[in-house]
């Protein structure tokens, strides 16, 4: 019971943080491209790298959740 709750919380709390971070980063990137369409390519590459870094933290949560599910 506790392990199952922990697994759910691990991925959901990590998801909240990652979601907010990705939203802010993506929104700012679109704003930048809308203001200055000629830098679109550079901004897109940087955005992908940033999103990958943010995503890693969420994936850590997912990994812990899988490990906990394996223990049930």
């Amino acid at each position: 019971m506790g392990v199952a709750l922990g697994a759910g919380l691990a991925v959901s709390i990590a998801g909240i943080g990652g979601g907010i971070g990705m939203g802010v980063a993506g929104g700012k990137a679109f704003e930048a491209i809308a203001r200055q369409p000629e830098v679109g390519g550079d901004v897109r590459t940087l955005l992908f790298i940033t999103l990958a870094f943010i995503e890693t933290l969420t994936i850590y949560g997912l990994l812990i959740a899988f490990m906990l599910v394996g223990k049930i």
Partner: protein
């Protein structure tokens, strides 16, 4: 059973047990190799067909990495490795989309096991330091103590964190996607998983691109003039 996955062994090659993941990797390597060899077997001055497509890919990747890594000779040196990373990870991610994969035992993309992704990340780890030493010589060591000696432990942790985060990112994404598809196959086997499968086409390509871009930016940071 590790992580709910099947780990049966097909046969032993000396002391090395060969399981379904290694076998899938061999098939992918053979596939990429055969296509590449048949494209370049009798090359002509005016390219046609497959050779033409491959020349376009090579020129595109060289330009892309040159723009990303700022220095052309570094990009020329490392572009073959990084392009191989991209092709291998892409094919391996997509191998989970073969009909019947992910819910037949012994049929899963190699990148959803972290022995495979760790291997790729360790290759990147050594490439970073080889690139650093070959560009700067012994002077490369000074970047571990920049900006001051007090930062040495943090810099060392960072060097270990790079391959670890590459490993976990690729493994977690592909494994998570496979688990979601397997779960949907169990809940609603008809037509429902195809939505996630369509999404995983996009996801597999993005993860391959992200692994390649991050590796190239780490190599560029080690080989660049920043230190």
């Amino acid at each position: 059973m590790t992580f709910g996955m099947w780990d049966g062994v097909f046969f032993n090659l000396g002391p090395i047990p060969v399981d379904h993941l290694i076998f899938t990797e061999w098939v992918l390597i053979a596939l990429i190799g055969i296509i590449a060899i048949s494209a370049t077997r009798n090359m002509q001055m005016v390219p046609r067909g497959l050779q033409n497509a491959f020349e376009a890919i090579i020129i595109f990747t060289y330009d892309f990495f040159t723009q990303l890594m700022d220095e052309e000779h570094v990009a020329k040196k490392w572009a073959p490795l990084l392009t191989s990373f991209f092709l291998f990870i892409l094919c391996s991610n997509y191998s989970g989309l073969i009909p019947g994969a992910a819910h037949i035992e012994g049929f899963q993309p190699p990148t959803s096991n972290w022995n495979v992704t760790m291997t790729l990340a360790i290759i990147t780890f050594f490439s970073i330091h080889i690139a650093g030493f070959s560009e700067h010589g012994a002077h490369y060591l000074s970047h571990f103590v920049s900006p001051s000696w007090a930062m040495l432990p943090l810099n060392l942790v960072e060097e270990v964190a790079h391959p670890l985060s590459l490993t976990v990112r690729l493994f977690g994404n592909i494994f998570g996607e496979e688990m979601v598809i397997a779960f949907l196959m169990f809940m609603a086997p008809f037509l429902v998983p195809s939505a996630i499968m369509g999404l995983s086409l996009l996801l597999g390509a993005i993860q391959a691109i992200v692994f390649t871009i991050l590796s190239s930016s780490y190599i560029a940071a080690a080989a660049g003039a920043g230190h």
